[in-house]
Each structure stands twice: as C-alpha cells, then as structure tokens.
C-alpha cells in the first residue's frame, strides 16, 4: 500500500486535495477528499439583519454567486410569506440560467477539456487536434469560448446590475425593471449565445441535441459532426469514458426554474432500478464526524445545524461536512437534474453503465440545449410596465428554507431569525454533497467512491483528473 497526495488540485474552483491509498497494482484502494479552506459564512451571518444575507451570501462563491442569492431570497420570501411577481420570477430564471450556462461553458472549455491535451495521450488519433484546440491558456478554443461566456453574462448587465455579487435578487423578485429596448437587447444577446453553441460547441441546432433519446442516437448524431462536443464524444469513445467515474447512482434534484408554479426541471430523487420518488427534504442531514468541526450531537438536519470549529480532532481530514439523504450519500449536478427530469438518453446511459465521466459531461451539454430555448421564452414573456418586485414586510421572528439548483447541483439555505437578527444560517452546496468526506458510518463521499479502483500510479493516464473534474467541483461553495 502506498499513498499519493494530489494537490493543489487545480482547474477546479478553489483549492482541493485528494489523498489516494494505492494497492500493489497501483489502483486506488481508498480515496479521501480534503476541502482545505474554511471561511465560516454560517458564523459570519449570525447577528446580522436578515436582509443582509442578500449582500453576504453571494460572496460565498464567485462562480455560483447568483444561485446563493436565489436560495437566500427564496428562504426570506418564505419567512415573509410573499411570492415574486411574474416578471420577477422570469427575470430570476434568466439571471440564474445565465450563470448556470456560463458555468457549464467555463467547465467544459477551461477546466475539463484541457486534460486531454496531456502528453500522456500523445499518439492517440485525436491528440494533435485536441491539444491545439483545448490546451490550457494556449488552445484556440478559449479565444472563442471566453467572449461567448462574457456575452451570456452580459444578460447580468441588463437584469442584475453586475456579475458576480448582485444585490438585485430579492424575496419579491428583482430590482431592475427592463424597458422595451433592453428586452430587445437581451433577446439579441441570447441569439448570439445560441449561434456560438450551435456553430462552435454542438455543430447542430440546440433542439436537435435536446431531442436525442438514446445513447445510440447520440452516437449516430455525433459521427463525423464538426463541433467541440462531438470531438469530445469521439475521444470519450476511444478512452471508454462511459465506464469510468461511477459513484453511488443515487441522484437528487431540488427542481429548477419555476414557471407559473411548475418548475422546468422537477424536484425528486432518482435511482436506476427504482426510478423517481418525491423529494423529501426532511431526509437531509449533515454529519461532521470527519470534519474539523464539533460533532457531539451527531448528524443534524440543517434546520438545526451547527458549525463550530474543532481544529484538533481525531479522524478528521476535511473542513467539509458530509450531507446525507436518509443516511446515505448521493450525487447532485446537471446529470442528477436531467435524470430526475426524465431525460431518456441519460437515463438509459446510467441504467446501463452507471454514472460516468461521459454521462456528466453529456448532461451539461443537454442542459445547454434545453435551457437556452427556455431562456428565450422567459425573455419574450417579460412585460414592460409590469412590476418586477413585490413589496413585503419582514417579521421580527421567522424561518425559511431556500432550495434551488446551481450549475453544480442542489443548493439549500436554511435560515432562522429572532428579534430581527439571524440566529441560525446553514448552507449545503452541491459540492458539499459530491465531495463530502466519510460519515459516522464510514461511508465514503461520492467522489471518494468514484475514485476507487482507478489506476493512479505516477505513470497512469490522468483518469483521476477526469473523474474529479467531471463533477465540476466548486470548492469555495463546498465549505463556505
């Protein structure tokens, strides 16, 4: 048995350390994931005015900033017993979708694909073209992808003032009412984004990809097609990425993008053999057994959660708590969201071979194809002259929960305030689920499970890198 410590594990958001115990055959016998940075936002928020959360929580994370805002605004709206106006709900969907889709682009072009320019792959038939297109900082793709991403985020300039860290997302809706001309600008910006996705990334209409209903249809669609995603599919087939990176095959989604009550992507819990069951938020708990945090009360529902540092703690190896659903680890993210939403291609892929690098990346591409047309619909439905933000009054005491979907998966905020001040604030971010450490029953977290059995000696191809990045981790959010 030997140990490898991988860190700083870069091209993820924030700092990450992965500790691998290798067996005699240089395969991973056990993995431990350390989130090495602690900032303590849950303590920072105590004693603040409840609405201060709207200024503070976006700063939990510079890449999921809006999703943090939406979760806080939703928790506060519950406590205030108000609902966003119709325009406010559409604008919130547009703002959150812009962030989520921009993050999918950042992940594919900046974080994930550059690994296939690794010299370990020199000699593969696709290597030269891939390295020239995707090499970190030097490849030709970033020069197109970054302006496309910035273009998508120009929606924020119209709808949210700026990104990241907008204060425009409020319990009653949004603070920026668009005029007729600005609505036209938003639609033009979305057309530009559609053109990039269809021309450069996919090589086809968004609707064509969104309509594929099986892995066989995806393979037939991709064959010989120009575009960055088809190029990935070709190399993924060569490397067998559909067989690598399986975790627990248990998937959760809070549901995303409410439209007149029903979300575009519904909430639920999905397993390949049992299908879909309703989301039961009461089943969520956090276990701090292996975190440098006090855990004497055992696993707690976040409504009663605690965050207290215990830096010298036997058996701890991360600052991250371990969220569990009915006591078990599960995976969140675009793949989970699409499985819960019934996407047939991904369901068949996971039923056949389990979650994988291929399934997670394909889920993000399908989401780009499904969400951008929905954004066009929300933008067209904006009604100039109608209210964007419903007024509301904050009671002196209250509580609320905000359950949303960030790019990387399910994000929850649980808030309680007394005498006009925040008395408890707990956050479970997507990567808290996916990159959790072990729990009191010693069950590994999802990434820890997914890395088991992979070749990881010094000469191994960068499979560990692909699997880690296939989750698109956000370490800033993870511990917060």
């Amino acid at each position: 048995m030997s140990r490898r410590i991988l860190g700083p594990f870069n091209r993820v958001e924030g700092d990450l350390e992965v500790i691998l115990d290798l067996d005699a055959g240089q395969q991973v016998a056990a993995a431990r994931v350390n989130s090495p940075l602690f900032r303590g936002f849950e303590q920072l928020l105590l004693g603040r005015a409840p609405l201060d959360a709207l200024a503070i929580v976006p700063r939990i994370c510079g890449i999921c900033s809006v999703s943090q805002s939406v979760a806080a605004a939703s928790a506060l709206a519950g406590a205030m017993d108000i609902r966003p106006t119709a325009n406010g709900a559409r604008a919130t969907n547009l703002i959150l979708a812009a962030e989520n889709l921009a993050d999918h682009l950042s992940h594919f072009y900046l974080f994930f694909m550059p690994d296939f320019a690794h010299p370990a792959y020199a000699g593969r038939p696709w290597y030269e073209a891939t390295a020239s297109r995707f090499a970190a900082l030097r490849g030709s793709a970033a020069g197109q992808a970054l302006p496309a991403r910035a273009g998508l985020l120009k929606l924020m300039g119209f709808l949210a003032g700026k990104w990241p860290h907008s204060l425009g997302l409020q319990p009653g809706g949004t603070t920026r009412a668009l005029g007729a001309s600005e609505k036209i600008r938003v639609l033009a910006q979305l057309r530009e984004c559609r053109a990039f996705l269809e021309t450069t990334l996919l090589g086809d209409r968004l609707e064509a990809l969104a309509g594929l209903d099986s892995p066989a249809a995806l393979a037939a669609w991709a064959a010989g097609r120009p575009g960055d995603f088809p190029a990935f599919l070709a190399l993924a087939a060569d490397l067998g990425l559909e067989r690598t990176g399986r975790a627990y095959d248990r998937f959760l989604s809070h549901g995303a993008y409410p439209e007149d009550g029903a979300p575009l992507f519904p909430a639920g819990f999905w397993q390949p053999d049992q299908g879909l069951t309703p989301l039961a938020p009461e089943q969520i708990s956090e276990d701090s057994r292996h975190a440098w945090l006090v855990d004497e009360e055992g696993p707690l529902h976040p409504r009663n959660g605690l965050t207290r540092v215990e830096a010298e703690k036997e058996g701890a190896y991360s600052w991250c708590k371990a969220p569990r659903y009915a006591g078990q680890p599960l995976e969140v993210g675009a793949l989970a969201r699409q499985l819960v939403a019934g996407q047939p291609l991904l369901q068949e892929l996971v039923r056949r071979q389990g979650a994988s690098i291929l399934a997670r990346v394909t889920a993000r591409m399908l989401e780009l194809a499904r969400v951008l047309p929905a954004m066009e619909g929300w933008a067209r439905a904006l009604e100039p002259g109608q209210a964007y933000c419903a007024p509301g009054t904050l009671p002196n005491e209250g509580q609320g929960a905000g359950l949303v979907e960030a790019a990387r998966g399910s994000l929850g905020h649980w808030l309680e305030f007394r005498r006009g001040r925040i008395s408890r604030y707990q956050v479970i971010a997507p990567t808290t689920w996916n990159f959790s450490p072990r729990d009191s029953r010693d069950q590994p977290g999802p990434l820890e499970k997914a890395l088991e059995g992979l070749p990881a000696g010094p000469e191994a191809p960068p499979l560990v890198q692909h699997v880690v990045r296939s989750f698109d981790p956000c370490m800033a959010c993870t511990v917060h």
């Binding site: 594990f9 870069n10 940075l37 910035a150 949004t174």
Partner: protein
C-alpha cells in the same frame, strides 16, 4: 518571450469571484494579456500544471530559482486558528497559504492584492471577533499592517497594489497589469489606500443614471424603485471610490443601474458598516454618511431646497419601477 512579465496567481480566503469577473473581460483575455507582454506562470483556475508539478513551480518561484515578476493574490490571509494558518493549508503542500504568500511576496517585483478581502480583509474578516484571524496583505481593515507589514515593499519598491472591490471589475485588473507591462507604475499612481488611481480617483456617484433623482432628493423607498438610493436604501455611491458608473459592468450594468445600492465594496471595512446594508443610518432624519467633500450644513440646506422644488415627474417616478410620468415635449423648438 523571455522579456514578457511572468504572472503568478494564488487564491486563498475568498470566493474566487475576482477571477470569475476577470474572465468577463470584453476581449479575448489570454490573447490580450499575451499581446501586452504578460504570461501566466501559474493560475489555479487556468493552468495545466497540477499537484506536484504545480508545487514545483511555486517552490522554484519562492526559492528564487525561477524568477517571476507579478504576484497576484486573491483572497484574505487566514492566520488562524491561533496563528497556525490551518484554516488554509495549500492543497498538497501541508503548509499554510500565509507562508507561501510571504515567501513569494519577497521575490516578486510587484504584489497585487486582488479584491477587497486580499487588500483589507473584507468579508473574510467580518465574523464577530474575527476567529479566522483574517487580514489583507498590507492592511487589517483601515489600519496598515496585515500579513506583510506596513513597511513592506516589493522588488520594484512599491507597497502592495490594492485592487480593491468585491468583486473587482475586469478592467481594473487588466489595465493595472498592462500599466506594469508598459514600464511600471509609480507610487503617485496609487491613492492613499494603495488603490490604482486609474479607477479609484472617481466616485461611484459619477455618471450615476439616477442623478436627476439625487439632485432633487427624490428617493426610492423599496427595492426596484427608480429614485435615488442614498436617503433610505443605504447607497454609499457619493462616498465610495470607483468608476463603476462610467466603466460598465457586464457590458451595460452597475449596482445602481441594477436597482440596488452601492455598499462601498472598494473601501476598507465595507463588510461591517454598523447598520443593515439596505438601510441608511440617520440622525434626526438626516443620513449620517453625507457625500464626500460636502459640508453638512450645505447638504441639509440644499436637500431641503431641492425637495421643495422637485418636479412632479421626478417625484412620481422615484417611487415606481419604470417611468410613469414622461418629460414634456417642447413644441417651440429647443433653444
């Protein structure tokens, strides 16, 4: 390539949002920086090298074996608990990030604090009692000191360059870096809080699209109102230094254009204003935080006068989310 400036970037006690904001730059970022003569030696979010290979790059830079030019740090310095730095041990290294930063800063020609948490401590230092023992590179809140100490000078003879903001505008970073590549930056180009004057000489108020409402003290009362945000909703744009309303965010925006107040995120200790962010603290109905350079008596007198002279249009629109009363059309030709 060898004459290009080599840029090393590290992240610690922050959210990574200044890098994310930088990537919103209007033009292809990597090509622009390379064209200006700036190469990334390593950036945690962007570079190919990972794990041991990345640690070797950092070790060579810190030991002096591989000279570099610019050190950009993003995130507060977390010295706790109990001075150990364990709130952030750089992944794979087992060593506190504070140690890495101190060693690297001693080798850099220029040290840039990217974001208000890096410059002054920011939100990372906002928890009551500051249990993280968080500080900026050369400041601890308003006071000089921080990780590197008040006397610190980088190789080029400058204090830490504080690109304050939460987050920073991409233009503030890119323009500062390219100023360095153009032959450097002299101390006169920094303001008294170490911020590049290329963006910090202005007030957020300059170019504010709510200016007519400000002039007449026609104030917003609730989120999404069009009126001036200073009197009731906590706006500090008349005091905060930055060019947010003349240098657009994400193509077309700013906090004020977005309908919410400036919380003065470029200023030390903005994170603990002593009042709720979305409320203006007042004494006897008058805001405590008056515009920079404005004598209080004048402000009070002018505010009373302008309130009494507020046109109906401005008064009505201040409390709506879109203009309800439109400017009259002059029928005689404009003179």
């Amino acid at each position: 390539m060898s004459q290009n400036l080599r840029l090393l970037w590290l992240q610690s006690g922050g959210c990574g949002g200044c890098t994310q904001s930088l990537l919103c730059h209007e033009r292809p970022l990597f090509a622009e920086l390379a064209g200006a003569g700036i190469d990334f030696l390593w950036h945690p979010g962007l570079s190919p090298a990972s794990g041991p290979e990345a640690l070797q790059i950092l070790e060579d830079a810190a030991s002096g074996a591989a000279p570099f030019d610019i050190l950009c740090i993003e995130g507060a310095m977390l010295r706790g608990p109990a001075g150990s730095g364990r709130f952030h041990l750089l992944g794979g290294s087992g060593k506190p990030m504070t140690d890495w930063v101190a060693r690297l800063a001693a080798r850099a020609r220029w040290v840039l604090a990217v974001g208000s948490c890096t410059a002054y401590g920011g939100l990372s230092a906002a928890t009551p009692g500051n249990p993280l023992e968080a500080c900026g590179l050369q400041y601890e809140g308003n006071g000089k000191g921080g990780l590197l100490g008040r006397e610190f000078r980088s190789g080029a003879g400058l204090p830490v360059i504080n690109i304050a903001g939460c987050p920073t505008h991409p233009g503030w970073i890119v323009d500062t870096l390219e100023t360095l590549a153009q032959g450097g930056l002299v101390e006169d180009e920094l303001d008294e809080l170490g911020r590049p004057r290329l963006y910090a000489d202005q007030l957020v108020h300059h170019g504010c699209s709510r200016n007519e409402f400000y002039e007449f003290k026609a104030s917003a009362e609730k989120p999404s109102d069009l009126g001036c945000l200073m009197e009731n909703l906590g706006c500090k744009g008349t005091q905060a230094h930055a060019d947010c309303n003349t240098r657009p965010w994400n193509g077309a925006g700013s906090c004020l254009k977005g309908g919410y107040p400036c919380i003065a995120c470029t200023e030390p200790e903005f994170e603990n204003p002593g009042h709720p962010f979305l409320e203006t603290p007042k004494v006897a109905g008058i805001p405590i935080g008056l515009p920079t350079d404005m004598p209080k008596a004048w402000f009070v007198a002018l505010a009373a006068l302008s309130k009494s002279a507020t046109p109906h249009r401005v008064k009505e629109n201040a409390l709506a989310d879109h203009p309800r009363v439109l400017p009259v059309q002059k029928k005689t030709g404009l003179k």
